[in-house]
């Protein structure tokens, strides 16, 4: 299994393993990646051990290009700093982000709309009296604003893929320009400092991308065993499926070996 680069078959891998592999494939060698806890760590570490050995990872608590031997449970974890190039603090890493050092970011979200606007703040009711209050933004909008490309990793549910999210925590390709609130393109909102934006959404069912002209989400690949119809049924807006390229490539045996035996042998995120 260790050196077998052929694709695994359905049933031989878990969903989370497929997602980690899909995430890893977004990373180009030598890139600086800003990532949060969980799946992004699996994705980046896997990429470093396969196709992107020279990718560096920044964690928002202050570590740069750590080389953990035990998977961190949080970006604040001491494990992040193991053999890091530098370990400092938030002001350092977020200043680097704002300076333009970061190529790619991995982020999560509770809700997303067709333009890639993401909500991690509150759902239902009104903002001051929400039905569900979430954690708040964290670094999600900052990282997504200031990196060159962002990949969101999310659970696929109809209630999460909405025509309009209840609160725009993190900006997509069409946003409101405050304080006026008029809708503008992301390029207009960011002006000269526009660097890019969401390029992919990797979910439990599929991989989505965004039209370069309109900024609208479209279906790129469906995960093995999932149909286009399944996906449409789990999206709350009219989804462009015309460009679907087929199946999301499954993990190889080698990738599964690395994930299970090298990267997360404790089953911290992969489970047992």
């Amino acid at each position: 299994m260790r050196n077998n680069h052929s694709p695994a078959k359905p049933g031989e891998y878990k969903l989370i393993e497929l997602l980690a592999v899909a995430g890893a494939r977004e990373i180009r060698d030598g890139e600086v990646v800003f990532a949060g806890t969980g799946l992004p760590m699996l994705a980046v570490t896997l990429a470093q051990k396969t196709t992107a050995p020279r990718a560096s990872i920044i964690y928002e608590a202050g570590s740069m290009d750590g080389r953990p031997v035990h998977l961190p449970s949080s970006v604040g974890d001491a494990r992040c700093e193991y053999r890091a190039s530098v370990s400092s603090g938030l002001l350092d890493v977020f200043s680097q982000l704002q300076r333009g050092v970061v190529d790619l970011a991995f982020l999560g979200g509770a809700e997303i709309d067709r333009y890639g606007n993401v909500n991690t703040t509150s759902i239902g009711g009104d903002y001051f009296h929400p039905a569900v209050r979430l954690t708040g933004s964290g670094g999600n909008p900052d990282i997504n604003s200031l990196a060159r490309r962002t990949v969101f990793i999310m659970v696929q549910e109809k209630r999460r893929f909405k025509e309009q999210v209840d609160y725009v925590t993190s900006p997509g390709w069409r946003v409101k320009k405050w304080p006026g609130g008029e809708w503008v393109t992301r390029q207009e909102a960011f002006g000269s400092v526009f660097r890019g934006g969401p390029v992919a959404v990797i979910t439990s069912m599929a991989v989505f991308r965004f039209d370069e002209e309109t900024g609208e989400m479209y279906l790129d690949t469906v995960h093995p065993g999932v149909t286009i119809e399944d996906v449409k049924n789990n999206v709350g807006f009219d989804l462009d499926v015309s460009r679907c390229r087929g199946e999301t490539p499954p993990p190889t045996y080698h990738e599964l070996y690395l994930l299970r035996n090298v990267i997360d042998p404790e089953g911290l995120f992969l489970g047992n």
Partner: protein, 325 residues
């Protein structure tokens, strides 16, 4: 020299006044000044205004206990061990808590502005988000931006454009954070107050420098002459520190680089039990109010569990604690 700075947890908490604006060391569930937080609940502090880059288990405890009126932050939760701040959510919905949302960069720049002694800093982060929506200015909605409290800025944001480089697109000014008190848990402090932090320093320097008063709880108080043997490794000069307290394990259940691991089981238990006010009250009764001191709390946690959390001296984290599923 400066012996007067050393005090007990009880004395240090007496330096915090009801209504104070407070900030903390640490990050989410790492290096939070829990020993002080528990004592703040025991001393029934009221109407606190928490201002933090991000909050965590410590904030949830103070909020659940009714000590907090305002929370300005970008995040509250318990990482892997509890996905939202359930006490903050409950009290927001009930109207007992005002939550002001900023983004992570906004908050770190607010603290940097406070530490630098300027009223604001510029940033480009989080344009196009509802964080900037003027309708969602919580302190403004509650009439708290009238200038009567000198620590609450009159606006949540200001929008400008660049005149130096001809850059298009808005620049956001975020107001300085100017807390009364920073409560920090660190690994070491010298007898005169020189602070040393090991591992990631999060936003500790900015938090301590932005505050008017600084209370430092350390795993160890060490000879000032020893901590000064490598001043480049120190974070905060003694003259910025007002009170020092020695309390080993004082950040439990949060983690402390080089000393101990996050106690994830303890935090998950807190999260599961305190999603209702009744649940919180029972939890606080058991773990705070019926426990007279932090030493008693540690005794209740027990040696076996604490020792399992203890960090390996090379790795700087525990290699014995059970993580994962």
């Amino acid at each position: 020299m400066a012996k007067g700075k050393r005090m007990t947890i009880q004395e240090a908490v007496q330096l915090i006044n009801d209504g104070d604006m407070i900030t903390f060391s640490g990050f989410t569930i790492w290096r939070r000044p829990m020993a002080i937080v528990y004592e703040m609940v025991r001393q029934r502090k009221k109407n606190l205004h928490l201002i933090e880059v991000n909050s965590g288990t410590h904030g949830e405890i103070l909020i659940g206990a009714g000590c907090v009126k305002v929370l300005e932050t970008c995040w509250i939760g318990h990482e892997l061990y509890g996905k939202v701040g359930a006490n903050a959510a409950r009290k927001l919905k009930s109207g007992e808590l005002i939550v002001e949302d900023y983004s992570h960069v906004h908050m770190i720049m607010r603290f940097a502005a406070g530490a630098m002694g300027v009223p604001y800093l510029p940033t480009r982060a989080s344009l196009g988000t509802d964080i900037l929506n003027p309708e969602y200015d919580a302190l403004g909605k509650h009439g708290l931006r009238d200038g009567s409290n000198p620590r609450i800025p009159r606006r949540k944001f200001e929008f400008l454009t660049d005149s130096f480089y001809g850059e298009q697109g808005d620049i956001i000014h975020v107001p300085a954070a100017r807390p009364n008190v920073c409560i920090a848990h660190v690994q070491q402090v010298g007898e005169e107050g020189t602070v040393r932090v090991y591992g990631q320093r999060y936003s500790d320097a900015e938090a301590m420098k932005a505050a008017d008063r600084v209370i430092v709880v350390a795993e160890e108080i060490v000879p000032e002459e020893v901590i000064r043997q490598d001043p480049t490794a120190n974070l905060i000069p003694h003259y910025l520190v007002d009170a020092i307290v020695e309390q080993p394990w004082g950040a439990h259940p949060t983690g402390c680089f080089g000393y101990y691991e996050v106690d994830g089981m303890f935090i998950r238990d807190f999260y599961n039990k305190t999603r209702t006010q009744e649940g919180f009250d029972a939890w606080a009764e058991e773990w705070i109010l019926k426990v007279n001191s932090f030493d008693e709390y540690l005794y209740k946690i027990g040696f076996r569990r604490l020792d399992m959390l203890r960090a390996n001296s090379s790795y700087k984290y525990s290699t014995r604690v059970k993580r994962g599923a």
